[in-house]
Symmetry: C2
Subunit: 274 residues, 2 copies
């Protein structure tokens, strides 16, 4: 069954990257959207406190702050710097009253994925007390294996959930993005398992275009690629997830078009292809 | 332990794509290389019979013919065409006296990966008798999940081996390429399992550059990326594989350099990073 309205639609600021935060807030609210996930790049100029004040004037829930992570590095000093940077990022998330920090966990080409995963776990455990103090949850987002060299040693939902369960803190869960996980034949079973442990914290959508021209910046609108988003969304429903469905698209093509027109297309795609 | 010499080195013609087949044969033989895997593009001009005659004049074993496959399609007529095309490809392989046809199995963005995998199995089963008659084995190559929209619904070694065992023919096995599978944490266990069933038919090497600039044509020389090739190679050794180690690199960068110099670099990389 298609989604009946846009009451569960959330937009990531990066999706309409050409808009400064104040324009995005205006436009999203005018379109009847009720939720926003805020990227670090969107608040760089004004800073988190001023951005938090601004956001609080709009009828938009802040769903997540994007992004922390990037813990692994062969040099322990660099790992310590990464932890400290994540603490600053948590302060920013708290200033925005974002209840969740999305973690792109990181990887390093000079060491094994196993070593990187150990360092990710150490990094997350190091920031949990500070996150709890600031009332910000932490969401581990598995990334597509094509980013395993540098962006994430966690390449599927099973690895993400296994780490969440090993860490065993109620504030650490899994963030799913269909773009990263659609190819995995364990997907339904692992979404179920996330639900059983009450650890599905967020759900992101976009589409995988065929062909895809760029490894990072050629994501598609829902319905324009090969991902069966409605099935995956139903699996998240069945797993008990009733949070927002977040549209997160990086696209050189869409960033070049009129963003108001793009926003209408996003809403249309959301209603017909999620 | 590093490889002691180049007695197990095989080159794919696509690796030195600017060279016509006759130049590749001359140059490989002069460099002391003993084996070659031949791409369809390398024999297009002269045809398989003439190419087979030419190859037989050189002290080079033909290891595989690349490539068949691309079975899935929503239209049954297109699937029938794909089967017929694979029969012609098998005839070409036989003319070259290639003992193995590498299968890039295919996928289609308009249908599920499950459906595509069923069609892959049907396609392979349809060509087995003809392959047996022509004394050509069939190798299922799992491809990286970033190609799951169009090139291969088989995205990891477990799926490839499971299909091989379900088909249950002694002429169908698995072809491994480190580029496609390095990120998989089931890798060692699945290579072992291939060995237990005596189904590891071929082993390809190159490297994953960090960053990678192009999804298809930016493969690295062994040692220049993040793949731990020596460990994977040792796992294939332990699984009883004693065939050739095949260098298969698609690279706009390397194709632009002097190919004799590139050949020397390949040999050096093979001796130091495999």
């Amino acid at each position: 069954m298609a989604l009946p309205d846009i009451s569960r639609l959330c937009l990531h600021t990066i999706t309409t990257k050409p808009w400064p935060l104040e324009v995005a807030l205006d436009q999203y609210a005018q379109a009847g959207i009720r939720a926003i996930s805020i990227w670090q790049s969107a608040i760089e100029d004004m800073g988190p406190v001023k951005a938090g004040d601004l956001v609080s004037q709009y009828p938009l829930d802040v769903i997540s702050y994007v992004r922390g992570g990037f813990f692994p590095h062969p040099d322990p000093l660099e790992r310590q710097k990464a932890v400290e940077k994540n603490l600053r990022t948590l302060e920013e998330a708290a200033a925005l009253q974002a209840p969740l920090l999305v973690l792109v966990c990181g990887a390093h080409p000079d060491q094994s994925l196993t070593t990187s995963r150990e360092q990710i776990r150490d990094g997350i455990e190091a920031i949990i007390p500070f996150a709890q103090q600031h009332k910000v949850k932490l969401g581990i987002e598995p990334l597509h294996p094509m980013y395993a060299d540098s962006r994430s040693a966690i390449v599927n939902i099973k690895q993400a959930l296994d780490m969440v369960l090993a860490i065993d803190s109620p504030i650490v869960g899994v963030v799913l993005d269909v773009y990263h996980i659609w190819w995995d034949d364990a997907l339904k079973a692992e979404i179920d398992r996330c639900g059983q442990h009450d650890r599905l914290f967020a759900f992101h959508v976009c589409d995988w275009k065929s062909p895809t021209e760029d490894m990072l910046l050629d994501r598609g609108l829902m319905g324009e690629g090969c991902i069966d988003i409605p099935s995956i969304r139903k699996w998240t429903d069945n797993a008990g997830f009733n949070g927002y469905i977040e549209v997160e698209i990086f696209s050189n093509i869409y960033w070049q078009m009129d963003q108001t027109e793009f926003l209408h297309r996003i809403i249309d795609a959301y209603l017909h292809h999620c």
